[in-house]
């Protein structure tokens, strides 16, 4: 039987749940603004010098102990996710830095039109905020995370100078670009939170090892354990690792009072707080809110609208790959930070679907990765194996499609009736089907990506029409809006039901746009923190 300790005498101003991309940003801002902030994080600090990219077993580690799929990784700090009813497997990392430990750090922004999809295209809903309202927070986030890239992209509004020049394109990147240029289609070097020169605290330049998905040994890839967290701690914030939150607690009036959690020794604890910020990601946050039932909140916390856990959006991800006749050492350079194309980003109804997609260019890794498939089918075993492997090694490139998934209420995160984590807390269960609009987008993108690869000189083109292991962008499950009947939080991320509860992760997205979401998640987190600083000094003890 676990003992129960109570830490009521140590009430904090703000309790943040989750130390990932959004939790790091919000904590740092609030701590630097004089709030007494504590963060509870179920995972632990990572030591970059121990990342698997320097291990002789790295190819095995990448698929097991460092796999982005928590169901495969199965560390103590991970929680299982029932994804049986989803063609997309969610991927994430649980620790200080959250999923930014494993991310690619490809960091485009939303377009202005992404905030106005109802007005422009008659679908989903407009956001209650505009691109312009978020712009200063995008800039601020770029500065803290450190952005490499270059201004002048004709597919995007002008923006402030990037902190560092772009990542070199490489011979392989230029090859792929030649296909876009032959067709007269847009491309632009990717904005990436990857250092191309030393930037930030003790962070070196990328040395092109290629393995972003196992953490960055060089500290060149920005993750919040290296960027926001040092600032947060200097600002006086505290973080407790190995602290798994069971539920957010409330008083008789329904206001949040803190959280019950299990500490790293397995002891039940309670932390009192005058306000709570959820930053546990688009799956972890609805899971916790649904686990936080009480007399005042019988359907879960902040759930009067019934929309907690609904409208789950991924970015449906197709991958089209081809092999080039020449050897280009495609393992040199970050895997997915070359360039992108937004030729088909904005709606053109003549295509038969609304909204659009981004192409993100991908290179490939070493022989074991290639043999096991990488972004495509595994190299066949038996006769012909060696010939096929040699054909792909050093010359395989791919184009990833990030399509805009529109919100649909039947795509959900709820609680599994049986599955639990190692502490017995009900685990999340997904129900997700791909909409016709999303499928049509992907099909359109596949046809055009084939054209690009062919124009660039590739052959043996292989299509994965929807990658299963591609649930890296988790959005929409506690959406933002002005109307409490059709949204969970207001435009500041504040719960409509509970005035001292905020959400800052991808759950609050109204729509998902067709770009990687994290700069937008972090900009929103900074904006919410800024709002609290300006308007909620009452949280200070």
């Amino acid at each position: 039987m676990m003992s129960k300790n109570t830490t009521t005498d140590k009430s904090v101003d703000v309790l943040v749940i989750g130390a990932g991309a959004s939790g790091g940003a919000a904590t740092a801002w609030l701590a630097e603004s004089g709030f007494n902030v504590k963060c509870l994080e179920q995972g632990y600090w990572q030591d970059p010098s121990k990342y698997a990219s320097a291990s002789k077993d790295y190819e095995f580690e990448m698929l097991t102990n460092w796999a982005p799929d928590p169901n495969k990784r199965q560390r103590d700090e991970d929680y299982p996710i029932n994804d049986t009813n989803s063609p997309v497997t969610p991927v994430m990392f649980n620790g200080v830095g959250g999923s930014t430990i494993l991310w690619t750090a490809h960091t485009p922004r939303f377009h202005p039109s992404d905030f106005r999809v109802k007005t422009l295209d008659g679908v989903a809903d407009d956001w209650p905020i505009s691109y312009e309202e978020l712009e200063e927070f995008y800039d601020l986030n770029d500065e803290v995370m450190g952005c490499s890239g270059i201004n002048g992209d004709p597919a995007n509004p002008p923006r402030s100078p990037r902190q560092m020049p772009p990542i070199p394109l490489g011979k392989d990147g230029r090859k792929l670009i030649s296909g876009f240029e032959k067709l007269g289609w847009h491309w632009w070097p990717s904005d990436s939170y990857v250092n191309t020169q030393p930037y930030g605290e003790g962070r070196d330049a990328c040395n092109f090892c290629g393995h972003n998905h196992m953490g960055c040994y060089q500290r060149a890839k920005s993750s919040t354990d290296l960027t926001y967290w040092p600032r947060a701690l200097r600002g006086g914030a505290t973080i407790e690792t190995g602290a798994r939150v069971r539920r957010i607690t409330t008083d008789e009036s329904g206001r949040a009072t803190g959280a019950d959690y299990i500490d790293s020794k397995g002891v039940d604890q309670h932390q009192n707080a005058r306000a709570v910020i959820m930053a546990a990601n688009g799956i972890g946050t609805p899971r916790l809110l649904l686990n936080s039932t009480s007399d005042e909140h019988p359907n879960g916390l902040a759930n009067t609208s019934g929309l907690v856990g609904k409208n789950l959006m991924f970015h449906p991800f197709a991958m089209i790959s081809g092999t080039f006749p020449e050897k280009m050492d495609t393992w040199q350079g970050p895997l997915g930070n070359i360039a992108m194309s937004q030729e088909f980003y904005e709606t053109d109804k003549s295509r038969g679907f609304v909204r659009g997609y981004t192409y993100q260019f991908q290179r490939s890794l070493g022989p074991a990765w290639i043999a096991n498939g990488g972004f495509r089918n595994a190299v066949p075993w038996g006769e012909g194996h060696h010939e096929e492997l040699e054909k792909r090694l050093g010359s395989l490139m791919a184009i990833a499609v990030i399509g805009e998934d529109l919100p649909e209420e039947h795509n959900t995160v709820d609680l599994d009736p049986e599955l639990t984590d190692s502490d017995g807390i009900p685990a999340p269960r997904l129900n997700y089907t791909l909409s016709k609009n999303s499928r049509d987008q992907l099909d359109h993108a596949i046809v055009n990506a084939k054209k690009v690869l062919e124009a660039a000189g590739a052959s043996d083109i292989f299509v994965d029409p929807m990658m299963r292991q591609s649930g890296w962008h988790l959005m929409g499950t506690a959406r933002m809006g002005d109307d409490p009947r059709s949204s969970v939080v207001d435009k500041w991320g504040q719960s409509h039901d509970v005035d001292n509860l905020f959400i800052v992760d991808g759950s609050i997205f109204v729509t998902g746009a067709a770009v990687n979401p994290t700069p937008t998640i972090q900009a929103l987190a900074l904006r919410t923190a800024d709002y609290i600083v300006a308007n909620r000094q009452d949280f200070k003890g």
């Binding site: 990342y51 990219s53 320097a54 291990s55 002789k56 077993d57 190819e59 095995f60 580690e61 698929l63 097991t64 102990n65 199965q74 377009h111 202005p112 039109s113 106005r116 422009l120 505009s130 270059i150 002048g152 004709p154 597919a155 995007n156 509004p157 772009p166 070199p168 394109l169 490489g170 011979k171 230029r174 670009i177 240029e181 847009h186 491309w187 191309t196 990328c206 040395n207 092109f208 090892c209 290629g210 393995h211 040994y217 060089q218 393992w331 040199q332 350079g333 904005e346 070493g366 022989p367 074991a368 043999a371 096991n372 595994a378 075993w381 038996g382 006769e383 194996h385 060696h386 090694l393």
Partner: protein, 149 residues
Amino acid sequence: MITNSAKTQIDEPLLTSMLDRLIPPVGDLPGAGQMGLIDEIVRLSGQQTRFQEIFETAVKTFYNKNQDFISQSESQQDEAIRQFESTNQDMFDSVLTISYIVYYKDERVHKRLGWSGKTPQPDGNKMEPWNESVLDKIRTRKPFWRQVD
């Protein structure tokens, strides 16, 4: 950790024959089975409990269904493997995955492929520097993002 018990779970002659069919000889290299990779396969699979369990179950299941595998002809062996692949996909994948990983970790294979074989870090790789002239063409394109009031 290599445990004796892990190794005794695995029928070595059978796995050797299977590896030879999965990754056949090439150039002056014998098939993967004859290269003596089993100790490394057992060690590596033991680095994660979940993986080790699937892998060991896979080898046992295959053995139970194909006790005469070693004495079969190559085409019969290929057929038995194909049968296993189609009926026990996850288990088969674990065998293939670890076989590929261990084979492509081997220095003899690196030499044949001309692959450096070094871990990605700490040395990383070299790339030619960023060259802005690649933007000459695309910079001539007018802005085309959708304006919003």
